[in-house]
Amino acid sequence: MARRGPLVGEFFMNGDIACAEGGISAGCRFFAGYPITPATEVAERMAARLPEVGGTFIQMEDELGSMAAILGASWAGVKSMTSTSGPGFSLMMENLGLGIMLETPCVVANIQRAGPSTGLPTLTGQGDMMQARWGSHGPYSIIALCPSSPQECYYLTIKAFNLSEQYRLPVLVMADEIVGHMSEKVVIPPPEDIPLTPRRQPTTPPGEYVPFQPDEDLVPPMANAGDGYRFHVTGLTHDERGYPVMTAAAQDKLVRRLIDKIEVNKADIIEIEEDGTEDADVIVCSYGISARVSQYAVELARGEGIKVGMLRLITVWPFPEERIRQLARQTKTFIVPEINSGQIVLEVERCAGGKAETLLLPHMGGSAHRPETILEAIRSAVK
């Protein structure tokens, strides 16, 4: 067997595998995970590929351990990721919070299935979108990206790594079972054509390094363990030295910065895709697999002469609220198909602020929407 480096060329692969290859291309060299349908293929691919590129794969005893291990690996200076689905994602919430608090770059891919609980392990869902936003306790901000195709699983995993290094936090790739298991052409560019964000290393010598003193963009540089900085980090509320401070003032200062470093950099983080939204009477706003079904319905509706736009959320968190506020002044109705009982629709509704009507098309999971369901909603909206 020969060692292969990062792949280059055109491949026919499913979203799970593309997600793993995105990690490899992004420089991920540590993966800790636990088998879970429908995310197992990400781990299997990493088990095969990481040794080929000099990385380390470990199958942990559970998802609590997986999440903790990738944080540890990241502090050792190695880009790290894990993958999971609903039940495992729930277990990861604990150390996701630690990752937020320790400002630890890493990537978590959640190939969503239908819940609650064990639910439909082999069938799709999008029910973890609010959990992605609020699932760990306490106030914080997060970045979550939603791929709609294997190609995007690849690309968004790289983007997730770049954002995680740029803003020092765990970044979530919120795929779903259909996207994870569908195979399509995936183009992998040569490494020199893939821009990677390096870790922001301290520029000060060890004696002067203040671990949580932020740069202008509110993000502090990060020293690697073993480099002589002798830093301390804690999940407790801490000051810029990283030392615990048990006061409301310290909490305010720290948590505000953890949130603001995302909020003030939103323009850099948010990626959305629009098609015919400018003069649309109705806009279908969706993400992941639901966005593809929506796109199909939108094309059918246009065939009937309806002025309908498509807004696809690639970044779901932070939420693209500015754009939705603008669009709410131009359009009459937002239709939000999602494979849950109504999560992202709440955000759309909040941003629409009564200026446009918001209509949820829920689906409890197990399959995608029927295109006719969305088409019918579009027709009714313009009646």
Binding site: F12, E184, K185, R292
Partner: protein, 187 residues
């Protein structure tokens, strides 16, 4: 928006999902079209009804699923019973004739092949899916023969290339025999 919509059905363990994957790969990488391959699967690794879907189009594919296939290939009676009601009047039905007894229908054109028997003759029943792929290629013409052969070779285990090439060629030849002279021309 021309879409070819191919559904292959059978039992878990017959290599149905791999067959769909190979077809999707052939279309995407070697015929340079758009293709999307999806699968239905349950918790059982063997047995159980199993279906794979391949959408092939010159345009980008948004909706990845197939409600009414243009080509339906089935390798088990269960799959036939489950998926034949989704056929439209012009659906091409391809069956493994030893595994499936179809209902008489004057609308649908049925193409038959003893795929499993041919595979057994070649020495391994496991290549029945590749025999079927050769057959689908010849009959449906949704992917080119060269693309499909290349995709087969890239997707099967090392050391089985010769066997799988034979399997593909047998299925393909059997398919050509079933076409009218005008249909088979130039392919």
């Amino acid at each position: 928006m021309h879409r070819d919509e191919i559904v292959i059905g059978g039992l878990g363990g017959q290599g149905i999902v791999l067959a769909g994957y190979i077809m999707g790969k052939a279309a995407a990488l070697f015929d340079k079209k758009n293709s999307t391959h999806t699968q239905d699967y349950g918790p059982e690794a063997r047995g159980g009804a199993c279906r794979t879907q391949v959408v092939i189009s010159d345009d980008p594919i948004s909706y990845p699923y197939i409600d009414n296939p243009s080509v339906l290939a089935v390798m088990s009676q269960g799959a036939y019973n489950t998926y034949s009601p989704t056929m439209r009047p012009d659906t091409m039905l391809l069956i493994d004739e030893d595994m499936v007894k179809p209902e008489k229908s004057k609308d649908t054109r049925i193409f038959t092949i003893p795929a499993t028997r041919i595979a057994q003759e070649l020495g391994r029943a496991a290549v029945a899916n590749i025999v079927m792929l050769g057959f689908i290629t010849a009959v449906s013409q949704v992917v080119s023969r060269d693309a499909m052969k290349q995709a087969v070779l890239e997707s099967v285990p090392k050391g089985t290339e010769e066997l799988n090439t034979k399997a593909f060629d047998r299925g393909y030849a059997h398919g050509l025999e079933q076409l009218t002279p005008s249909e088979g021309k130039g392919k």
